[in-house]
Amino acid sequence: MSLATALKANDVTQLPSKRDEDWKWTDLRGLLRVLPPPSEPFAGEAPVGPFASLANLPIHVVNASDPFVIRSASVEPYVVALHFAALGGGSHSASAQVEVADGGHLILLESYEGDGADYVANLDLKITVGAKARLERIVLAADGAEGVSVSIAEVTLGAEAQFAQTVLTDGARRQRIETRVAHPGAGAAVRLDGAYLLAGKRHADLTTVVEHLGVDGTTSQLTKGVVRDQSRGVFQGRIVVAEGADRTDARMGHHALILSDKAEVDAKPELLIFADDVQCAHGNTIGAFDQDALFYAQQRGMPEEVARALLTEAFVGEVIDRIEHEGAREAARLWAAKGLGL
């Protein structure tokens, strides 16, 4: 059950629905009665995306593309900007492979863009990070308000590899950004962050699965979200520690602010542990503004609006501060300021 197989077979019954445990809060079957036809090849000037100027290699795809491969063996940080634009209606499918050779260092700046059309977009990424290699992946998703978009990245890590990811999104009509990480190699380090700022009737689903299959792995995960109006934020995080994956240290945090009475946040932070020599924890908080902090700021002479904006910025800022690539961090800061109306 996936959007990819449904699009391939042109069969709506293969869409994941709320009856599928992993999709219970992001129902595609109930939303899409028919699947739009595959999009026509795009003719015109293609947008290059927000990260093009930061990259050694900018790549852009409009609507659909044939599968392609990005391979990097550079030991020095090498920056690839990968921009996917959905322009016009129809269904768009794209898939790519990213391979970082042993000891390599790649920075992948990924961005999505959608116009106002009611498109259905699916992106499949397969990422392999070699032994002692590093990959930092930033995803900046700016889908259209009527778009339905699913992006699934499968990441496999070699021994002592480092993988850091930050997903920033303002949602879509229905959007899912899923990352599945497996580290069979020993000593791999994973950072998986995310932030969602939703308004209107937008929906964003950040789903992650981390499988610790080797020893001495670490995972640090922090996701923050702000929902307003009638929007809906979904966070599903699963950490699996397989039998024998000893000395794993995994931490997961998800914190969301609900700023309207009609907004909704659903969260499922899961720990599945099959080994005993582990340290695993998760924390999850969902709620309204901290009235004490708000009062404190106002009492220091700040108008309420400014106090709210400042507190929200600081709330989301914690995720953005963890981005290592400086240019991407600045872009993320601008994105947050814009999203929060600062």
């Binding site: 445990e21 039998e243 024998g244 969301a256 609900i258 700023l259 309207s260 009475d261 009609k262 907004a263 909704e264 946040v265 659903d266 969260a267 499922k268 932070p269 899961e270 720990l271 599945l272 542990i273 099959f274 080994a275 005993d276 020599d277 582990v278 340290q279 695993c280 924890a281 998760h282 924390g283 999850n284 908080t285 969902i286 709620g287 309204a288």
Partner: protein
């Protein structure tokens, strides 16, 4: 030092599952299998009115159309529902008029289990010893209910379910299945069709129940399932504390226990429901036998400022599938869930709670402590949700899991759904093994490894144990010790 001494004493009294004996008494069985005729047979055996038979047959029809749930992290061969007895009762000519007429073998069984069925024995005990009324359910029927007279003076109705159907049909009709609908889930629906007995409690407005109420469930017969149904109603401003304990003989085949518990709490009332579950867990080496404990428990806080508190100590059962839940409907109502779930050997537990916040300013608290040892698996699964109208809802959840050994598993699967901007939900969970430093410290002070583990485990579960009524807390602490026997070294 007192706690250490107590622990040492408990470790000394460690033994294998001690309730695994069988009582040889003459039993009345319904024929094996399940059909409308069996449902009619059970209903007739209990001299039930026509409306009850109709209710059962309707449930049976619905059950046929349902599928067994498969989402829990428990694995077992498919159950053949036609290969079980749905009714087994100790044989008796006429209903016992007093305790003296109850089969002495049954009384001996309960005495072995340490249940003070005879009031005089309780009264003859230490002066000022806590007294509690007991309803004892043996396989399919309630054999005796104690302290009825004294409770009746306070206006409290405490009797077996079949008696309530006969004597208080208006209350049963009004509340039965009003919290757990007939077709709520597969096992609850099966229970509605074939339930044989259970306890019924009604506490009238403004009454504080003068003593703890308690039910002991015992599965004795071979190849039989136990399906009891408990219904407790706390009317406005009342209070009742209810305890439940369960045991079963050691057998090689699996036996099904599919109970339904419904609690109804009206304005300003409170129910405290405590369970010490010690069904036979099956053979720790082979995983053979043991009880399948598929239970639906739900409380409905219908009134404003109503409060319900679930406390459970789950040590037995081959498989536990159980989620005592709270529907917080009344304004400012409160739900609490305190749980210790221990799995050892080849046990599997998937247990947790649901806190459904519907009313404004409702509050809930979840403290769950899971301990897995041996080759067992222990899952916490819980839901906290706030309806758009539940302004000011608050929840705090803490789930801690402790792993003892390399081959066990501990999972945490919480669901959180917040549907308004004025609720605050907090959740934290940890999974770790016993701290080497703490173990070393305890052992260096002269405790053996097993004693040291016991001490640390007692500390780990203390938050929950202290929520149990006094007489259960001691029993529960002992159980924790027994359940973890042989899990280290």
């Amino acid at each position: 030092m007192a706690a250490v001494k107590q622990t040492v004493e408990h470790v000394e009294s460690l033994e294998k599952y001690k309730h695994g004996f069988v009582t040889d008494i003459e039993q009345d069985f319904a024929p094996k299998g399940l059909s409308p005729d069996i449902v009619r047979f059970i209903s007739a055996k209990k001299n039930e009115p026509a409306w009850m038979l109709e209710y059962r047959l309707d449930a049976y029809e619905r059950w046929l159309a349902m599928d067994e749930p498969e989402w829990a992290k428990v694995y077992f061969p498919r159950i053949d529902y036609q290969d079980s007895y749905y009714y087994a009762a100790p044989k008796e000519k006429v209903g016992p008029a007093s305790l003296d007429e109850v089969d002495p073998d049954i009384l001996a069984t309960y005495a072995k289990l340490g249940i003070p069925l005879r009031e005089q024995e309780v009264l003859a005990g230490v002066k000022g010893a806590p007294r509690y009324a007991v309803d004892a359910v043996f396989d399919s029927v309630s054999v005796v209910t104690t302290f009825k007279k004294e409770l009746a003076e306070a206006g409290v109705i405490f009797c077996s379910m079949s008696e309530a159907i006969r004597e208080h049909p208006e209350l049963v009709k009004k509340y039965l299945s009003s919290v757990v609908p007939v077709s709520d889930n597969y096992y609850a629906c099966l229970n509605a069709a074939v339930f044989s007995d259970g306890s019924f409690v009604y506490v009238p407005p403004g009454v504080r129940c003068p003593m703890e109420l308690s039910t002991y469930f015992r599965i004795n017969a071979e190849n039989s399932g136990q399906f009891e149904r408990t219904l407790i109603i706390a009317d406005k401003g009342s209070y009742v504390s209810y305890l439940e304990g369960c045991t079963a003989p050691m057998r090689d085949e699996n036996q099904l226990h599919a109970a339904v518990v419904e609690l109804i709490i009206l304005d300003d009332a409170e129910i405290k429901y405590s369970t010490v579950q010690n069904w036979y867990p099956g053979d720790p080496e082979t995983g053979k036998g043991g009880i399948y404990n598929f239970v639906t428990k739900r409380a409905d806080c219908r009134g404003d400022r109503a409060k319900v508190s679930w406390t459970q100590v789950e040590t037995g059962s081959a498989i536990t599938w159980k989620y005592p839940s709270c529907i917080l409907r009344g304004e400012s109502s409160v739900g609490e869930f305190y749980s210790i779930a221990i799995t050892n050997g080849r046990q599997q537990a998937d247990t947790g709670t649901k806190m459904i916040h519907l009313g404004a300013n409702t509050r809930s608290r979840i403290i769950s402590k899971g301990i897995s040892a041996g080759r067992s698996s222990n899952t916490y699964r819980g839901l906290v949700s706030a309806h758009p109208k539940a302004k000011g809802a608050r929840n705090f959840t803490q789930c801690d899991s402790l792993l003892i050994g390399k081959t066990c598993a501990a999972h945490t699967v919480p669901y959180v759904e917040a549907r308004n901007g004025q609720c605050v939900f907090e959740h934290e969970a940890t999974t770790t093994k016993l701290s080497e430093d703490q173990l070393f410290y305890a052992m260096q002070r002269g405790l053996s490894q097993e004693e040291a583990v016991q001490l640390l485990v007692n500390g780990f579960v203390k938050d929950v144990l202290q929520e149990l009524p006094m007489e259960f807390a001691v029993e529960a602490q002992k159980l924790v010790a027994i359940s973890l026997e042989g899990s280290v070294g």
